[in-house]
Amino acid sequence: MTIRRILVANRGEIAVRVIRTAKALGIETVLAVSEADRESMGARLADRTLCIGPGPSAQSYLKVETIVQAALGSGCDAIHPGYGFLSERADLARLCEEEGVIFIGPTAAQIEAVGDKLRARAEAVAAGVPVAPGGSVETVADALALGETIGAPLLVKAVGGGGGRGMKRVDDLAQLAEAVSLASAEAGAAFGDERVYLERFVSKGRHVEVQVLGDGDGLVLHLGERDCSVQRRYQKLIEETPAPDLSDTLRSAIRDAAVRFARHLNYRGAGTVEFLVDVERQDFYFLEMNARIQVEHPVTEQVTGIDLVAEQIAVAEGKGLRLRQDQVVLTGASIECRINAEDPERDFMPSPGTVRKAVWPEGDGIRVDTHIASGAKVPPYYDSLMCKLIAHGPDRASAIDRLRAALTQSRVEGVKTNIAFHLAVLADPAFRAGGVDTGFLTRFLAREPQAA
């Protein structure tokens, strides 16, 4: 089925990004906007806008029924959810399936399979994809036996926890019994669920993820990997491809594992399988799968020349994959940094407001994905991402140099940004050498507080 009109159920730069590809394909767009986004760049570019509710996301962008009603009422045959908001909500995918609206993404069942941590881990095991050594424990005796096989240091994690909550590190197995009893009692009190599991603690890890595309019928391609180890409190700041300083053996094993996992699910559309690379052991473990287009997808597009949103749409139309694996050719290196409206001097506190002036760079190998022009507003209700600067070059060093030049050409007045902070990180010798671990940014901030 050919898609003629898409409801874009998102905002910010990703709404602009989706509209751009839809226009190139001759597809009309209807943008669902909150009251705060009526005059956004996306609203100007879309063929039509529909106001779905007031500024706060819970009353607008997160309303599943309103989004589907907007699509039906405006004659859209498909919904593109972007990232965040409703992009990984199985209930939206299911309602679309029921109402005969094409959901540009995976099936509801696939979203559910990867949405729950333990379920996703079980799927990974079933697909023969390595997971961090560990498992659930019911008694202290279980824990001690499992602890012996994992070895210290290890983590005791609450099944109901997440995002760093409900976690205990055990450095000496002699303390394991006490830690498990305590963690279980605490988890019961905090999450209403006493179940805990053990997992190997990786002291030096890198975040490496693989972009995959599936036709929903068992055929899966990978488009190389991205390294997103430069993170602050689990928020990615700089992403690049290919992952630097990774052995060929590890790189191809990680790519194969991602394809195996997606194939096991008969995955449909664009997705990303995330792994933790254990630098000391030269090993890797499955973390999770993101069943959507990701913020950092442009670096993959720059090195492959493939428009991922166009491929999402083609798969959603039932055209399948239009490429074979050997037609996916990775050229050069690409790196992206996220320019946020936030104040590094004040612990990266969001800095919403009106952007009096915005000047973004141009030049060879530079791509700018943004929704911010002079006069634009950064509303307080949403994330602070203003712009993604993406540089591409024949190799990593030239991509970094182009990104630094692009950053120095960028001007934003009216709100605080992390532009200067990015320049300091890109100049860091460890970053330039490549292959930093997820603890890099914390150490960098401790060492060079003036960079913030």
Binding site: R44, L45, C51, I52, T354, A373, G375
Partner: protein, 156 residues
């Protein structure tokens, strides 16, 4: 969500440093309303608009789509009643039934003026204003946006 006096102080500092005169925050049970002394009582401080720079995205710039912001009627005695939801507006409870209201009728704050359907869920809409209905703006069984005018009332 809990909020401490320190948080409020931080938010006040943000407001001080911003171009805004007023801040309303609603999250869960919490409602916070801050206004700078001397700031005009209005929903959003009108900004001196800088002409927007055409986007860098390759798409050709388009004439701006006019916003559907609630219209202020020229006659100050008139009030536009906006739709509280995006959905399908129905003037009557079911096909063939009498409409909830007609032009010329007097409405109270809690008079039901129609139904907004969102995916088979029917939501009744109240006038929220007292006065005489002078116009029914939204079409029956037509989709309305959030904030779109449903009816126009001459305030009593």
């Amino acid at each position: 969500m809990t909020i401490t006096s320190k948080d409020v102080a931080e938010i006040m500092k943000l407001l001080e440093a911003s171009a805004f005169g007023e801040l309303k925050l609603e999250t869960g049970d919490l409602k916070l309303h801050l206004r700078r002394s001397g700031a005009p009582v209005c929903e959003a401080a009108p900004e001196a608009p800088t002409p927007p720079v055409p986007p860098r995205a390759p798409a050709a710039p388009q004439p701006p789509v006019p916003p559907v912001a609630p219209k202020v009627p020229s006659d100050p005695s008139l009030t536009d009643v906006p739709s509280p939801l995006l959905g399908i507006y129905y003037r009557a409870a079911k096909p063939g039934a009498d409409p909830f209201i007609e032009v010329g009728q007097t409405v109270e704050d809690d008079t039901i003026i129609g139904i907004i359907e969102v995916m088979k869920l029917m939501n009744s809409v109240r006038a929220g204003v007292k006065g005489e209905v002078v116009e029914i703006v939204a079409g029956n069984a037509a989709m309305v946006e959030y904030g779109e005018t449903l009816i126009r009332v001459r305030a009593a």
